[in-house]
Amino acid sequence: MGAEHKVSSPVKRGSAQLAVLAVLAEAPRHGYDIAKRIRQQTGGVVSFDVASLYPLLYSMERRGWVQGAWGQAPSGRERRYYRLTPAGRRRLQPLRREWRSFFRALNRLARLADA
């Protein structure tokens, strides 16, 4: 218990950051691809639209966690690809720990409620 990390960041923002950083840890992607990958990976439970994705991406870019650069998509169209920076990778590790800890805590509560 003592070794577990507290969930310090606001839940909603933290989960959105985790989702984006986690899919970018796999490979660089453009905005639409990021949203699509998150939807696929979570079975549609977590989804991002334009209004929620881009303010988050720009804010993460300003903080230096991701870096965007224009490049050509397989379709031949110019798209802005985001990739994780070393600072983003450092941010992702504690986020993952926080969320594991958070869900373990919720599971314990759920079991308590079932008992």
Binding site: H30, G31, Y32, A35, D49, V50, A51, L53, Y54, P55, L56, L57, Y58, S59, E61, R62, G64, Q67, R77, E78, R79, R80, T85, P86, A87
Partner: protein, 218 residues
Amino acid sequence: MPDWEELVGRRLGRMKLEPEERQEVVAEVAAHLEECYQELCAAGSPDPEGYTLAQVPDWKALGRRIQSSKEGPMNQTIRIVLCGLLAGAVAVILGLSISRLAGVEVHSVLAAARLSSALPGWSGAIFHLPAGILMLWLYTAIRPKYGPGTKTAAVAGLALWAITALTLAHWSSMGIIPRDFLLVGVAVAMPAWVAGAVTGAWFYEATERKPVQALKAA
């Protein structure tokens, strides 16, 4: 198919970003919507455009959120306040220096007009500081239209000078300050406020936070 870039550009029209940065955001959001639209069309959606546009229920709010994400809301406010204070300080120091060179003792004139009996001598200088913040805010408001730099800063400085001149003229018409002082005050305030605005705007631009440049090399 709708012209997504035109549509997004029109709907995010009031977003206060640099033209290049704004264009980049518009292109990126438009590409996202276009891809979403094409995917919906391929899936046989009955209203692909409607479903695509439903992603953005409030374009003004999206513009504000993007702007704030790009600039950082606290960062922006702190920069306006600090650079505004600097602009006000430069204006008051320069104004007093020019007045002294012109042989006008501002405090003596105000004392003679019995204004300083109600307020301490330094109060006039203090009033310049919030005025400097107001001027810097004005600079940031007109910057997206006129572009960053000396010219836009000078316009903001001249706007504040016009307010100062009108206030002095009003006081003069009421007999609170002598007409000679009005003329000197109006003449001195112009270079002082323009120089203050240019200095404040220069620091504002110099302190702009861009994505960490070093990361580009990583």
